[in-house]
């Protein structure tokens, strides 16, 4: 039966799909899953990230290379991938099976770098279309170029079955390993080649257990077995297969012998394997069974893999949340530090105190009471002496105090955030990219903030004063002076603990200042004003700190997106599982492989 043009009836029989339900639903679900997987990146170095990145790349490849093309053409020839360790004799085995030197074998390791696909000339058209393994270019001659597969038609091979000589899985050539993994994931049947020296190596067994988990149909070749050791080694290997749940895999033993002039093994040594493959190629039902079982197993294995990815995505989200939380804690601590410093009236003391005394004691207040006159005189004094008017001096002191406070807070916040990340296993990997100090223009931004806040307080007093009875009484006072006094009240309204004569005097002056203000605005209104001004300062501080800590947040994936990914992955995985259940690809678990007398 020529494989590429089967009669329609036979095709239906081969796929075993219920009539009227093409695998379209499954294809659509897989497409959806693929795009979701491809869209998730595991940027944060959580313990699950690196395996998840590998797994996600692998799954995308598997869907593109194998699952989708195979689902679209269930009747395409069976692809037998010959895989195994370097030096196991894969190429020699393939050459011997097709009775022609189609792929280079040799003593240098790794030998095969460009995979070779050997098929019956009738099947060549299908493999050349590039539906299967779409990102490998088809070439006709061996090439050193990566990402190519050499296509060799071999009449000795029966139609309906192709052999792919894969690169090794464990040599120093890293791209060989990746390519081998990709090819094995696209196999309908794994022909796993190992040797007497290698059968206990750790790397192949990891791969075999992965294959078993994915439900792939596996056959093993124990190659290069020294004469006399066959029974013992084969027996031990079979024990290991049973221990690893691979007892159903047929095992072929090929002795270590000399090769003929063409580099082929003696025909008698490979005969059982060749006959077995021929048997498989002849029986269409058996072939379809192998295809469907591997396909179904691969689809079933998607479930746990997608769950792993979803868990890893959830880990990413959790890690991002933790790190964001740490930055927030640092910001909150700095913000509270500023709020506390402003709240306990502290800024008033020291220089601010002295200026306030100037302001009250020198009669400036009295002068400012006559609004226009006072302001004009201030300007004249400033112009004549070159010194800023006392009111402005007071503001200057407050500005520098507040500015130092805010700059210190920003520096502390950045340091705290770094510190917190340093002690986080995920955060420590991001530290190199994270800022080490506040931004260079922090000074300018802080000063701008202080000025803006002062203007806002001024505006506040103006508007609050506008619709209150205080307006009438306060009209005599310069709004300027009032706003200044409100700023003072913000700092001093809560505490003036008399620790020394200076402080007591200052406290007295502060009380006096507050009393004046209260007389103008009323006690309650002053408190409200002070509270509003303090709140405004707090919000501005928060915005400043947020901007300073933004570079930290930018290193993290967006949390909303991260949170959604996990759910999307699970949904897409469930959709594929449901579609798979409907498609009914595999009737039962037993591998429909040809019987082999050596099996028993």
């Amino acid at each position: 039966m020529p494989a590429q043009t089967p009669p329609p009836a036979s095709r239906d029989g081969a796929t075993g799909l219920p009539p009227g339900s093409p695998p379209d639903a499954l294809i659509a679900a897989l497409d959806g899953l693929r795009s979701v997987i491809a869209s998730v990146d595991f940027a944060l170095t959580t313990p699950s990230a690196a395996p998840a990145r590998d797994l996600s790349g692998h799954l995308v490849h598997q869907v593109d290379d194998y699952l989708l093309p195979r689902l679209r053409r269930l009747d395409a020839p069976v692809l037998v991938v010959v895989g195994g360790s370097t030096g196991a004799g894969k190429s020699t085995l393939v050459n011997s099976l097709v009775q022609a030197p189609v792929t280079a074998s040799g003593v240098l390791r790794p030998t095969t770098r460009c995979p070779v696909l050997v098929c019956h000339p009738d099947d060549a058209a299908w493999f050349r279309t590039g539906d299967l393994l779409p990102d490998l270019t088809r070439v006709n001659a061996p090439t050193a170029e990566p990402g190519a597969v050499q296509l060799v038609p071999a009449p000795a091979l029966p139609a309906g079955l192709a052999l792919l000589d894969a690169p090794d899985i464990d040599s120093v050539a890293d791209d060989n390993r990746a390519l081998a993994g990709q090819l094995l994931a696209a196999a309908d049947l794994w022909l796993f080649v190992t040797t007497a020296a290698r059968y206990a190596d750790a790397v192949p067994w990891t791969l075999l257990s992965t294959a078993r988990r994915r439900g792939a149909v596996i056959a093993l070749v124990l190659d290069r077995t020294p004469a006399g050791a066959q029974a013992e080694v084969a027996g031990h290997l079979r024990e290991m297969l049973v221990a690893n749940g691979l007892e159903s895999a047929p095992l072929f033993v090929v002795p270590e012998t000399g090769m003929d002039g063409q580099g082929l093994l003696p025909e008698t040594d490979t005969a059982p394997l060749r006959q077995w493959l021929a048997q498989l190629a002849e029986d269409a039902d058996m072939r379809a069974g192998v295809v469907r079982q591997t396909l179904d197993g691969a689809l079933a294995a998607l479930g746990p893999d997608v769950d792993l990815l979803a868990a890893a995505a959830a880990d990413q989200h959790a890690a991002a949340t933790t790190l964001t939380e740490k930055v927030n804690v640092a910001r909150q601590a700095a913000r509270e530090g500023v709020a506390h410093a402003v709240k306990d009236g502290a800024l008033l003391r020291g220089e601010v105190l002295a200026r306030w005394q100037d302001f009250v004691g020198s009669g400036d207040l009295v002068r400012n009471l006559e609004a226009q006159v006072g302001r004009a005189r201030d300007r004249v004094v400033a112009a004549l002496t070159g010194r800023p008017a006392p009111g402005r001096q007071l503001r200057g002191a407050m500005e520098s105090g507040l500015s130092a406070l805010l700059r210190g807070a920003a520096a502390d916040a950045v340091e705290q955030a770094r510190q917190a990340w340093r002690h986080d296993p995920v955060g420590v990997a991001l530290l190199d990219a994270a800022p080490t100090a506040p931004t260079a223009d922090l000074h300018a931004r802080v000063e701008r903030l202080v000025r803006d806040w002062q203007r806002a307080v001024l505006e506040l007093v103006r508007s609050e004063g506008a619709d209150k009875r205080a307006r009438a009484r306060g009209a005599a006072y310069a709004v300027n002076a009032t706003s200044l006094a409100v700023m003072i009240a913000v700092f001093a309204s809560t505490a003036f603990v008399p620790t020394g004569a200076e402080v007591a005097a200052a406290g007295g002056v502060t009380i006096a200042g507050q009393k004046v203000l209260e007389a103008i605005f009323g006690d309650q209104a002053i408190r409200a004003l002070a509270e509003k001004a303090r709140l405004d300062l707090d919000l501005r501080t928060n915005a400043l700190l947020r901007a300073e800590l933004d570079p930290f947040a930018e290193l993290l994936p967006e949390r909303g997106v991260a949170a959604a990914r996990s759910a999307q992955l699970r949904t897409a995985g469930t959709a594929v599982a449901a579609a798979r259940a409907n498609a009914g690809l595999s009737a039962d678990g037993a591998a429909p492989l040809p019987a082999w007398e050596g099996d028993e």
């Binding site: 007497a196 020296a197 020291g350 700059r407 020394g500």
Partner: protein
């Protein structure tokens, strides 16, 4: 190849004392940098130190050579072939060897401690000393050959054992075979880690009898290429076959050369130290002078600290204090005593006079001032650590902050102890004082005279002949003159007092600032310098630990 390298008169042979000096330098590095670097980064060198110390204590007449390789490469066969005895179990079942076996050439006594330390069980130890051999084995006397388990089989515990043993042996012979010579595990996990140990590494292509001579050469060339890619370019690659005694010659010769040179242990430890130095190098960068703290930053720090400590307030108090004292000393005597009821502004702060003992009453520094001081401290640390590699800037900052808790008290004490010149009594005060007394006496005299004159007149006693100064009587003139003198002195004194007070303020400010700078140096700059010094010393230690040019 090896034997040539280890010929006795070789000037490049490592010398024990030099090695010890390098090890000591590493120890010094660890001691100095311990408080500042992450312990995880130092654990490797620490282990090397420990190991090197132990190995140097043990027999240096023995050379421990390990046969390491993948499962099925024929380590045990080679072991048996070199020993010419069936010591280690050989089999086709994989993996075979699970524990290390040792074979000692010569008496076992000297090697027992060594094998105890390496951890080879007594029943896995064999002695290769037989009178039957005659002198055949004499050249290998002192060899301790280990047959290691595999590192690539499904038995992970083998790998753990191999990793442990590879750290302890003097020379490693990597046994590979034509099938497995390009395995990733071998190259990635093992050979590439031994790049620094190329002096104590030999690679053997075993089972060469399975290849034709031409293929053997090709494989050896390919293997050498792979080794070169791992930084093991000049390592000897020998082709052997355990089954063919004739092909063991090169390996035996290499072993004999190594054993007779007795250098492998030292070379191995030297390579370990090299690796440690390599691992520690990222922690040192360019040289930094210990006094790299720049003056401008110190000045800014002192300014911030001065503001936090209330130096301005103290200076102002000193100004007012001067004023009060000057007025008390030069004022008009009848009113002057009133001034003693006023309080001295400095004493209010518990400064001056009896200062220097208790705490002052200066207001506590405020958050804004705190913030400014903290910023200045941060700036000092950042400037000083500008060019240092990663862990050090944080260490310098921590150092700068280490005495921050003591800073307020230190500042307070410094200000309390600063001599503000309260006892200074300028000459002009005394002149003024005398003049004031003179004026006051004149008033007293004039008024007394007037009173006496009045009393005489009232009692109708004979009038005293009073001199007159012009139209007014002299007594009035004297009294008025005294008053005028007092007023004049007070008037003239005021600008002087103001001037003096301003000067006192400036002087106080200067002295206080000097005190504050001293505090800044002690409490902030000194700890920074300590860290910088530790850095300089670790840097120096690492240079000392580097291999001398050979």
């Amino acid at each position: 190849m090896l034997s040539a390298r280890h010929a006795p008169p070789d000037p490049r042979r490592p010398d024990v004392d030099a090695l010890r000096a390098r090890i000591d330098a590493i120890a010094r590095f660890l001691r100095l940098s311990g408080p500042h670097l992450d312990e995880a980064d130092l654990s490797g060198p620490r282990a090397v130190l420990e190991r090197a110390g132990r190995r140097l204590e043990l027999s240096r007449d023995h050379t421990v050579v390990a046969l390491a390789g993948a499962t099925g490469s024929g380590k045990s066969s080679l072991f048996n072939a070199v020993a010419r005895l069936e010591l280690s179990r050989v089999g086709v079942r994989r993996p075979t060897t699970g524990v290390a076996h040792a074979c000692v050439w010569g008496p076992i006594d000297g090697a027992s401690d060594l094998l105890d330390w390496i951890g080879v069980a007594p029943r896995q130890r064999f002695v290769r000393e037989s009178p039957l051999d005659g002198d055949d084995e004499a050249a290998l006397r002192g060899l301790v050959l280990l047959d290691l388990p595999d590192f690539d089989s499904v038995a992970p515990e083998h790998r753990v054992e191999v990793d442990r043993l590879l750290n302890l042996v003097d020379l490693v012979v990597w046994v590979v075979d034509p099938q497995k010579y390009a395995d990733r595990t071998l190259h990635q996990a093992y050979l590439s880690q031994f790049a620094s140990h190329r002096d104590v590494t030999v690679v053997v292509l075993n089972q060469a009898d399975r290849l034709s001579p031409a293929d053997t050469d090709r494989v050896v060339a390919d293997l050498s290429g792979l080794l070169a890619a791992n930084g093991l370019g000049d390592v000897p690659v020998l082709a052997t076959a355990a089954t063919d005694p004739g092909r063991l010659g090169p390996l035996r010769a290499a072993l004999e050369g190594t054993v007779s040179a007795r250098q492998a242990a030292l070379l191995r430890l030297a390579a370990d130290v090299d690796v440690s130095v390599q691992g520690l190098r990222p922690f040192v960068g360019p040289a930094v002078a210990e006094d790299a703290v720049d003056r401008a930053s110190v000045r800014r720090l002192a300014e911030a600290l001065a503001a936090a400590a209330g130096v301005g307030a103290v200076a102002e108090a000193a100004q007012r204090s001067y004023r009060a004292r000057a007025l008390a000393a030069t004022g008009w005597p009848p009113l002057r005593w009133l001034r003693h009821f006023r309080r001295d502004p400095l004493r209010d702060l518990r400064l001056g006079g009896d200062g220097g003992r208790g705490a002052s009453s200066l207001p506590a520094p405020q958050p804004a001032q705190h913030a400014a001081a903290a910023l200045a401290v941060r700036e000092i640390a950042e400037r000083a650590a500008e060019s240092l590699p990663t862990p050090w800037p944080a260490a310098v900052l921590a150092g700068a902050r280490s005495r921050l808790a003591d800073l307020p008290d230190a500042l307070d004490q410094a200000i309390s102890r600063t001599d503000l010149d309260l006892d200074r009594r300028p000459l002009w005060w005394r002149v003024w004082r005398a003049a004031q007394w003179f004026g006051a006496l004149a008033v007293l005299l004039g008024v007394g005279w007037l009173i006496a004159d009045y009393v005489v007149r009232a009692l109708a006693l004979p009038r005293l002949e009073a001199p007159a100064a012009g139209v007014v009587p002299l007594s009035v003139a004297v009294a008025a003159g005294g008053v005028v003198l007092g007023l004049l002195l007070a008037m003239l004194g005021r600008p002087l007092v103001r001037f003096g007070a301003a000067r006192a303020r400036r002087r106080a400010l200067k002295r206080l600032q000097a005190s504050v700078i001293e505090v800044a140096r002690q409490q902030v700059v000194a700890p920074v310098r300590e860290v910088l010094q530790a850095y300089a010393q670790t840097r120096e230690a690492l240079t000392a630990a580097e291999r001398r040019a050979r």
